[in-house]
Symmetry: C2
Subunit: 208 residues, 2 copies
DNA sequence: TGAAAGCGGAGACAGGATCTCCGTTCAGCG
DNA sequence: CGCTGAACGGAGATCCTGTCTCCGCTTTCA
């Protein structure tokens, strides 16, 4: 039989991990998390074999929410609105959760990212294609640009954390404006090849 | 009298540092640089007291070029073209030089950044104001957005290094399109306060 | 040609993070 | 209650990584 305090402590640990990872990203140490939970390091390591394990636990639900966002967006009838809704929701999550942002951009746990990736890519492709066919997107844009836009938003999320929680919406709006059909000249360089999708989302990964 | 091999080695070291910092950023170790120069670590430390010193040497000229870009842009008569030219030139430098990019975004040597900053800010402000007064920029934009755009371009530079050296131009073009006056609705959030300029350029700085 | 300057790179040192160990505490059964 | 083993806490062992030093060996050049 498991002691009541033990299960309670496990929960506290997970809660603390959620908060600490959201605020500081994966740079945070397990000691930080234990401290934040009001517990000792030993307790943390009795409940989880290592840092990755607790991170995986916290991230599973967060990444799954992204997939949910994508599915829900697919139900919006107007193709452009659907795309915007996806950006909006997913952006909000990443702005609020640095750990999530790091995972999605490949700076976090590769395994978690690998598991959730295919589903998100499929949904986003669908989202993009619908809007593109409807003429809601400039003709010289490509799906890869959606991934790229998320990469570009990274710094905007950081700014949001430092300056104003809503600031990222300003730059999302700017980028979305740019995605719309326009009388601007064609983009000067073609989109990155589709195969480079994972590279795009891995930007910033230390790659000595 | 200094031995001939000694001065030659110093040059090799500086050249190696330039290349290594450009490619790997400041994460590179002095050992990496010495190796790349075909020399031993000891030699590196006999010529420079520490890593910062050699980095400062390499960066002085690079950062000064940015200021030159800004001054030259001010000489272009069309206000919008002037702004574009500055983005284009400075972007090219940062895309090619990761160390430079890190310095400008506050992830590198603070001192170098601090020295060059005021001049760049002044020139860019002038550049922006001219274009704004000429109506070449959407009315809800602000100078701070220029700094923000450079921050957003960071991931684009990384992509360029990983995928195609020209790729960043695509996203610069996208962002510049968005800056132009348009019939789009107003941006949903105001610009960050002017005082937060340094925060914007410090995005990504580890701030535990 | 020999002495002084320079070289090289193993390893001392420092900082920081992960994880372990064991004396102490306390939940919960009898 | 009182006992007992599961759970706790946190100091510190361990590992990793990067900076910098030290000193036996090599090279330059008067």
């Amino acid at each position: 039989m498991t002691r009541r305090d033990s299960v309670r402590n496990r929960e506290r640990l997970v809660d603390a991990a959620r908060e600490v990872f959201a605020e500081h990203g994966f740079g945070a140490t397990l000691d930080d998390i234990a401290r934040h939970a009001g517990l000792g390091t030993g307790t943390a390591y009795r409940n989880f074999p290592n840092k990755r394990a607790i991170a995986a636990e916290v991230l599973r639900e967060a990444t799954e929410q992204i997939a949910v966002d994508a599915r829900e967006a697919l139900e919006v009838e107007d193709p452009w609105d659907a795309l915007v809704q996806f950006f909006e929701r997913t952006g909000a999550r990443q702005a609020a959760d640095r750990g999530l942002y790091e995972t999605l951009t490949g700076q976090g746990d590769d395994e978690v990212q690998a598991r959730i990736w295919p589903e998100i890519v499929a949904a986003v492709t669908e989202l993009f294609n619908r809007a593109y066919r409807a003429g809601a997107i400039r003709p010289d844009a490509a799906v890869q640009d959606i991934a790229a836009i998320f990469a570009l938003l990274g710094p905007a999320f950081e700014m949001s954390r430092a300056i104003d929680p809503n600031l990222w919406r300003r730059y999302l709006a700017l980028l979305l404006d740019a995605l719309r059909p326009a009388n601007q000249p064609d983009l000067p360089v073609g989109p990155p090849p589709v195969e480079s999708l994972d590279l795009i989302l891995r930007v910033g990964k230390r790659n000595l």
